[in-house]
Point group: C2
Chain length 427, copies 2
């Protein structure tokens, strides 16, 4: 039996066309986050499993990690997310680093889930984290960065919405209705987090099993508020609710008017401490959460160093690509190869000098060194999607005049060495 | 007990300075290989373990893989190398792809080894593979690409040598001296591959245990040949030896004169079928193999499709960085942040418009939104290594004149919006 040619289930092979698209998306991300002063970092894809225990999401650690024991008996896992890692790195150099510290990365992360639209087992994730800013200006910047990335892809404010909430506010509401039992509170948070995935009846019944019937009814009423001014007055006056309103004003001053208050927004991770946000695709056929983030002030201190106020978000490549496709925002990206070079006669050695000169001048030239006949070479060039064929024979090398054929227009030009560069760089 | 802040043993955290260096190295690699028409691909870091069984290196599979069973009962491994993966991908689209097919990737790969200089458990590896060219022109191109990359980093031919050999030639020699037993032959190949890591006596004794004392003496004499013209005449006439001489001539015509014939060069992988090459650092303090490659015509066909002639090499980031450091070829890379923006007074909201305009114009601006006093902000900017501080207050916003301070020269300029862009893009 021969080996399978398929990639691991729920993960993707990237052929050049796919990789080009990924590089385009990552390029836009990099350009925008760097314009805000974020600097790229990276880390090993393997981390000790304990890094995620109680610091991440119970569901992820218990059901979705790629964990195993290495040959030295260490319990490790392929990272399911990047936040614990970047917190570890900041903690390691807590004193040497200067603040505000802006870090970004585009790691691949792994989760064992049922593969489905927008959700794969391996995906890449832009992580944007700001360390050292305790107040709202940090929230403003993170949401502005997220918004700027979507706009840099050509998205309009109608295409998406930004929902905001506060874990502190949720905490206050839950403690009023479900008591001081931390475990029960976390249970509710996780349950509400999955609300959109279940029918309303199931949600009501499930909630009633965690608290009482009566409390469940009260909570459902609260979680159904369309905006904060529909909340009971005491919660409207809560400092975190006030903060959220101030944040919305600040964002509106930056031209970001598509924020929505959403008291039922939870985010899956345990480490969030206050304001959280999530960006939703507003396309009627694909109305779903795309990505989000929030404040997680406690995580760096989990490594035994002084606490650092922190906020961050992560944007996955799969959901982003779905969004860009859905809104017709992906450009057609041509191959990086400027021309296929076809040798006429035995000039391979003699042509090396001019090829080297062209390459140094920035041209990407793929030599057809297959030894096939001219026709076969040109057929291959057409199949490869390259726009030009450049012919080199003894005559061309002697005269310094080269024949360049545009495969789309079938036009042929006779060009000297410099003209070849000029034409190929512009066409 | 708090969590460890250290990365997994034998793997690296990349803080922004480290990541910048990696991006520089990858950028040079990408530029050169793309100038030869190679296109980037990628694949999941997890592959089925069987992909490496008998197709890679026995040592790697048995002792160095990060293998485990996933939650679905699949025996998988984190890739220890990329060659089986790219072969799988080509096999999957054998018919749709056009040839010559040029593919490159810069994946991270994992091997459980004792970490030491130039060898870590996780490293990145440029993989450059050419599919569909059966003759020497493919070998010429691969070595030319490798050589062009080193030159693009500023290396001179004295800094490194390129050793070449043929597995077919080695095979012929071994069959003459050790018989037709394939297993014994592979044992010798692997043993000779480790020759540089053991004293000569140990090598002689080890070899004598695989073949006889007398045969071992003969083989050692052959493996000690400094060039092919020191080999017994029948091996000098072997087609592969002739091919290697032709290759050297072709390379010399491309200005590559630092190739050395090395009959003891083996390369660790089982899949090589003929010509192999390895690039050595010639620095007296670090004279070691850096990277290499060779022809592996049989691997694509292992997936049950028609065979494709193939050659490839892989260049690791750790050994490359050691090489560049050893020869003083690494540039000093400044931060990507053009300026730290310090707000004077309560102008955060009002300043957003001009900040957005500057960022759209390509400036990378990190706002100090920490709320600290001016002095503390400037101190942080100095610590972060950024060259400029840009001050924005009410007066600046009203007049459109901004104060830009160069932290190195302590020079201050008053500039309008466009002049800020001009200065920051040039300084």
């Amino acid at each position: 039996m021969s080996l399978s040619t398929q990639p691991y289930k729920g993960a993707r092979d990237f052929y050049p066309d796919d990789k080009r698209l990924q590089k385009y998306m990552f390029g836009v991300m990099r350009r925008v986050v760097e314009s805000f002063g974020y600097q790229e970092y990276d880390a090993p894809i393997i981390e000790p499993l304990e890094l995620y225990l109680s610091k991440s999401s119970e569901e992820i650690v218990a059901e979705q990690t790629y964990s195993f024991m290495d040959r030295g008996g260490r319990q490790v896992t392929i990272r399911p997310e990047m936040t614990p890692t970047v917190s570890r790195m900041v903690a390691a150099r807590r004193q040497e680093l200067s603040y505000p510290l802006r870090l970004y990365s585009i790691p691949n992360v792994w989760r064992y889930e049922r593969p489905q639209k927008g959700r794969l087992r391996e995906h890449w994730q832009l992580n944007v984290d700001l360390f050292g800013v305790a107040d709202l200006l940090a929230e403003h910047e993170e949401i502005l960065v997220a918004d700027s990335i979507l706009k840099a892809f050509g998205a309009k404010h109608d295409d998406y919405s930004i929902r905001i909430n506060s874990r502190k506010l949720v905490d206050a509401i839950l403690r009023d209705h479900a008591g001081m039992d931390d475990e029960r509170l976390q249970k509710i948070v996780r349950f509400v987090d999955h609300r959109s995935k279940m029918p309303h009846d199931e949600f009501r019944e499930g909630l009633a099993q965690i608290v009482s019937e009566a409390k469940a009814r009260e909570l459902i009423k609260i979680f159904s508020a369309k905006s904060f001014d529909q909340l009971p007055e005491k919660y409207q006056k809560h400092p975190s609710a006030q903060n959220l309103l101030a944040l919305q004003k600040l964002l509106a001053a930056s031209g970001i008017s598509n924020t929505l208050e959403d008291i039922s927004l939870m985010r899956g991770f345990d480490y969030y401490t206050d304001i959280i946000f999530e960006v939703f695709d507003e396309h009627p056929d694909n109305n779903r959460s795309m990505f989000g983030g929030g404040r997680y002030d406690g995580l760096v201190a989990a490594f035994g160093v002084e606490s650092v106020p922190t906020i961050g978000f992560a944007m996955g490549d799969v959901t982003l690509q779905n969004f860009l496709e859905g809104h017709d925002l992906l450009p057609k990206l041509p191959t990086e190869i400027d021309a296929v070079v076809v040798m006429v006669g035995d000039v391979y050695g003699a042509a090396q000098k001019v090829l080297a000169a062209w390459r140094t001048n920035g041209l990407n030239l793929a030599v057809d060194n297959s030894g096939r006949k001219l026709d076969a070479c040109i057929k291959s060039a057409v199949k490869s999607g390259v726009l030009h064929v450049l012919f080199i024979g003894e005559q061309e090398l002697a005269s310094g005049k080269y024949k360049l054929k545009n495969l789309e227009s079938a036009k042929e030009l006779e060009l000297d060495q410099e003209e070849v560069v000029k034409i190929l760089k512009t066409e």
